[in-house]
Amino acid sequence: MQLLANVLIGKLNWHALQHSAVTMGGVAAMAFGLLAIAGALTYYKKWRWLWREWLTSLDPKKIGVMYIVVALVMLLRGISDALLIRTQQVTSVGSAHGVIPSDQFQQVFSAHGTIMIFFAAMGLLFGIINLVLPLQIGARDVAFPFLNSTSFWLYVAGAVLINASLAIGDFSAAGWLAYPPLSETQYSPTVGVDYWIWSLQIAGIGSLLSGINFLTTIFKLRAPGMALMKMPMFVWSVFGSMSLVVFAFPILTVTLTLLALDRTLGMHFFTAGGGANAMMYVNLIWAWGHPEVYILVLPAFGIYSEVVATFSRKRLFGYTSMVWAIWGIVFLSFTVWLHHFFTMGAGADVNAFFGIMTMIISVPTGVKIFNWLFTMYRGRIHFTTPMLWFIGFMVLFTIGGVAGVLLAVPPADFQLHNSLFLVAHFHTMIISGVLFGYFAGLTYWFPKIFGFKLNERLGKYAFWCWLSGFILAFVPLYFLGLMGATRRLDHYDASMGWRPMFIVAGIGVLIICLGVALQVLQLAVSIWQRRENRDTTGDPWNGRTLEWSVPSPAPVYNFAVVPKVTERDQFWADKNKKQKTKNTEPTYESIELPKNTPMGIFIAGFAFLFGFGAVWHIVWLCVVGLLGVITTIVIRSNDEHTEYHLSASEIKKLELAARGDAV
C-alpha cells in the first residue's frame, strides 16, 4: 500500500497541506485573487478573448504586458514577505518572539529574495524589453517569436511552482541562494529547497532562451541604416545585458543541477563529506550571481538614458563613452564575483585582486552618472514622473554605490559581510537602480502600448512615498549594520538597542506600501480617465527615438513601412525637418506575422509537471513532463503554417484607423 502510494504520489501526503496561520493567510489571499479573476472572466465571458488575444499571442507587445502583469503580482508577494520580515524584527525582541516562529521566518526571507530577483525584477526586465526593443530598432518582432512565447510561459511555470510551495509543502529556509551544506538533504530534508531549485531552473531556461532571442534580434533585425552606433542607448544596454544573460545563466543551470543531483541522486558535489567541496557552490553561484545584478541594472541605466534625454529636450551627452561604459561594465562584471565571499578565506592575494576589480567597476557607472548630469545641464527639464524616478535614483544610487566601494575593501568587508550594512547597500542599488528605472520605463512607455498616459499627479505622489519610504526603511539599516546587526536575524536582545531603528525601518516599509497603493490607484484612475489622457499623436512626450513614430497603441505590425535610418535619434531629426518635406503617401507592402499558438503554453505546462514531479519524487510525472516537452517541440516543428499575411490594403485600413487623418 505504501509502495503504491510512493509510486503514485512520491513524497506527497496530507502533511504537505498543514500550515501555520500566517501561511494559510497567504494561501487564502492567493486563492481569493485567482478566484476573483476567474470569476470576472466568467461573468464577462472573456475566457475566449483572453486565450485568443493574449495567452496564445506571439506579439511581443502582448507578451511584454503579460510579463509585467505577472512580475507586478510577484512584486506584491515579495513586498508582503518584506512586511513580515520588518514586523518580525520589530516585535521579536528580548522575551517576545515575534509573529512567526524561527523556521518560518527563514522561509520568508528566502522567499523574499528569490521572488524579488527571479520573478519580480527579471519579469519586469523581459517585459519591458519585449515592449520596447523591436520598436526602437525599427523591427516588427523579435528574431524568434515562438521562442519568445515559450520563454514567457516557462517563466510563468517557475512562478506557479514557487507559489505552489506556499500551499503544498514548504519553501527553502536556506536564503535566496541556498548555500550547501545547509541546502543539502542532510540539513534541509523537506521539499523546500527542491521547490527553490526547480522553479529557478525552469524560469532560468526561459531567461537563457530570451537572451539568445534578443541578441539575435539586435544583430539581425535592425532597420536598414541603423548601424550599431546609431542605436538608441536603451538598445545598447539590452545588448550588454543579454550578452551577460547568455554567458552567465548556463553557470546557474549547472550549479542548480549539481545541487539537485546531490539531493536526488546522492552525489557529492557540495555535501559535508564524501569528497565534496561546498565552497565550490559559493564560487559558482556568485560567478552567475554577480553578472545577474548587472543584467538587471544595465537596461535600467538604458531607460534612464532615454528618459533624461527626452525630458531635458537634449540629446544624450557622451554617446560613445556611454557605449564604452556599458561594455566596460559587461566585461568587468565577470571579474568581481569573489567580493561576495571575501570572508570564505581564499587568501590575501585573491581578495586583493577581486577587491581592486570591484573598485574599478564603479568607474564606468560613474561615467554614466556624469553623462546624465551633463545631458541635463543647459537642457529644458520637464519634471515628469519618469524624470522624478531618475532624480531619486541619482541621489540614492550614489550613496549606495559609495557604500559598495567601501565594501569592496576586503578588510572592511570582513567587518561588514552579512551585516545589515550589506543588506542596505544592495537594496539601495536594486531599488533605486533597477526598480526606479523600471518604474520610470513603465510610465514612459505606457502610452505607446495602451494609447493613454498614466495619471501624473498620482504617479508623483507614489514616487515621493517610495523615496521617503525607502530612506526611512534602509538608512537605519546602514547604521544597524555598523553597530553589529547581522542579516536574517529573527530575534535579538533588547540590550542591543536596535529596536528603535527597526521601528523606523518598519515605518519606512509602510510608507513604501502606501506608495504601492497609490500606484495601484494610479492605474485604476488612469484606466477610468483614459479618454481624457488619450495619446492621439503617438508621441506624447516629444520623444527622440523610433517608437514614437508609430501610433499609440502601437499596431501589431509596429511599422507599416520599414523605417529608413540615417542618424541617431532619427525620429527627432525627422520631426525637426518636417516643415521642409512634403508628406507623400507611403507605399504599403504585405506583411508576414506569426500566428497565435498554444504550443508555448503546453511546453511550459509539461515543464511544470516535470518540476513538480522532481520536487515530490513522483517519477512517472517527470517522465510525462519530459516526454510532453519533447513531443510538443516535435509537433510544433512539423507545423508548416506558422505565419499569416496582412495585405497592403488591410494595413492601409489599419493605419488610417489608427492615425485618423494624419497618415
Binding site: S243, I251, F334, G347
Partner: protein, 126 residues
C-alpha cells in the same frame, strides 16, 4: 516556398568541392592528433616534463582545426557576429575556469585542516 525556389536557394550556398577538401583535411588531422595524444599519454606519465602541456596543446590544436574545418568558423560575411560571440565565450570561459581554479586552490589550501596544521607547525608559509 515551392520546389523551384528551393532548388535555386540551395545552390546558392558555398561551393561543394572546397568544402569536401576542408572536411577531409579536418578529419585526417584530427585522427592524427588524437592518436598522437593517445600514444603520448599511454606510453608516458604526463606529469613528467612538459608532456601534460604537450597533450593539452594537441587538444587545443585539434579544437581549432575542427572549429575551422567542421564548424566553418571565420567564413561568414561581415558583420562577423558568430566570431565575435565565439571570442566573448572564450574570454568568459577562460576567466571562469582560471578564476575558479585560482580561488579554489587558495580556499582548499587555507581551509583544509592538514595544510593549516602544516602552516601552524611552521613548516609552510601561507
Amino acid at each position: 516556398m515551392n520546389q523551384e525556389h528551393s532548388k535555386v536557394v540551395i545552390s546558392h550556398h558555398h561551393p561543394v568541392a572546397a568544402s569536401l577538401k576542408r572536411y577531409l583535411i579536418g578529419f585526417i588531422l584530427s585522427l592524427y592528433l588524437t592518436s598522437l595524444a593517445y600514444i603520448l599519454a599511454v606510453r608516458h606519465n604526463l606529469t613528467m616534463y612538459w608532456l601534460g602541456g604537450t597533450v593539452l596543446g594537441l587538444a587545443l590544436l585539434q579544437f581549432v582545426i575542427q572549429l575551422i574545418c567542421f564548424l566553418h568558423l571565420g567564413t561568414e560575411t561581415k558583420p562577423r557576429w558568430k566570431l565575435a560571440v565565439f571570442w566573448l565565450m572564450i574570454l568568459v570561459v577562460g576567466i571562469l575556469i582560471i578564476g575558479s581554479l585560482w580561488i579554489m586552490a587558495g580556499l582548499n589550501y587555507r581551509m583544509s585542516p592538514s595544510q593549516v596544521n602544516q602552516y601552524l607547525r611552521g613548516q609552510d608559509s601561507l
